[in-house]
Symmetry: C2
Subunit: 223 residues, 2 copies
DNA sequence: ATAATATTTTAGACTAATCTAAAAATATGA
DNA sequence: TCATATTTTTAGATTAGTCTAAAATATTAT
């Protein structure tokens, strides 16, 4: 098993990737786990030795599939416990976080599968965040900025962060709208702009700034 | 708050006192918390500094009322969690111990009071052990050998450990029977024999061997 | 392109809890 | 009572996680 602390680092890294994509920085992690950058570096070496993250000095980190599995399991437990506290023990949705932070580290397969059953297999927690199933798969996807996805991902546009008229008019002009398919063809290293294909049309470029403000989910593979 | 480890030591000491009375030995604790005597000595110093135990080198330990309070709270949490696992999550009574060992260290007043309510304020856990209430009082007392009680305790005799005819005849002869009041007048240091008063009659002496085989509970003060 | 700034890593130290081996205290028993 | 055995404590080392301060690397802005 992994230590309480290792689990917290993996969870922090997972959430940072979810927010900002791969290449998570030492300082960002230090912020999230409320420690100093030097301590983070030590832990990154340890997690890397255990093949839980991909780490090269000064280059930022990403999770290996092994590390992602661990992180997803912690998140699953956290969200199921939050659900339990609200549904069964009359906690308010804003009271549950700190207790769930502790409960998520309890080690028992049976405990968590029984809680899941007891709650009738919920798909989202009290904050509306999706709960991964026991295989680490989300039944419901949360929309994320286009900027966090990877080359060759195929997405469905679901919303915007910036609701300004100017931005919406821009989207209209380039042909991005709710429900449209967006395939990420390429990412330009220099300015992080993206070459994308909308509904199989001719590729276009959008800036990193634009990509950060367009929300999307991964398209589910059919067949 | 106290560390996970400190809590485990306090719980171990509490249980040893419950079994054998005050003056718990270093080795007995080492056995229970599965560590070495040297480690126990270190921890005893720490707990003593924090005024959680009474400790004099080589003399064995007892709990201060502060320490007992902490121990009782851990035991309360442990037993409520066991109850929850069996009643609500379909655990077998022999599957719950290890998980409850982890859950008992979760820090949340509200969590445990809500679990208590959810279970409708149970008085005993799935193993039949009494559950202390939030003030650390047992609503139901577990019978313990007379040998573990202290001077001036007033008890009610509830049973025996040794069911042999010889022992029962001896009890009959000295006037000890189910329901009789036993007041502990004095304990002889030399052989640990007890001077007791049965139903306010003339004091008699019983051996430590006998005292270990007579079960009793503390008499509840009326009025 | 280079100087200034910011980020990240290294080096070395600290704490809590643990261990082994040796010393000290206590208990046992002829 | 005095030697022996047992128990407990001390001394010194180890591990996980943390810290500060200094060095190395990367980024930014002129």
């Amino acid at each position: 098993m992994h230590s309480f602390t290792e689990e917290n680092y993996l969870k922090a890294i997972f959430k940072l990737i979810e927010q900002d994509g791969d290449g998570v920085t030492t300082n960002a992690i230090a912020d999230r786990v409320k420690t100093k950058a030097a301590s983070v570096t030590d832990m990154l070496k340890k997690l890397s030795d255990k093949k839980l993250i991909n780490y090269r000095k000064y280059q930022g980190v990403s999770l290996t599939s092994k590390g992602e599995k661990v992180a997803l399991n912690i998140i699953r437990k956290h969200r199921l416990w939050e659900m339990f506290l609200v549904e069964k023990l009359d906690f308010k949705w804003d009271e549950v976080h700190d207790v769930a932070e502790e409960l998520e580290h309890i080690n028992s397969e049976k405990l968590i599968s029984q809680i899941d059953k007891f709650l009738n297999y919920p798909k989202v927690d009290p904050h509306g965040d999706p709960i991964p199933d026991k295989n680490g798969k989300f039944q419901i996807q949360k929309s994320k900025p286009v900027s966090v996805f990877k080359q060759n991902d195929v997405l469905i546009m679901t919303g915007v962060v910036d609701h300004s008229a100017a931005f919406l008019q821009y989207l209209d002009k380039v042909g991005i709208a709710l429900g449209k398919e967006i395939k990420i063809k390429n990412m330009v290293e220099f300015d992080k702009s993206l070459q994308i294909i909308i509904n199989k049309n001719t590729p276009i470029f959008i800036s990193n700034e634009a990509a950060k403000n367009i929300l999307a989910i991964k398209k589910i593979k059919c067949g």
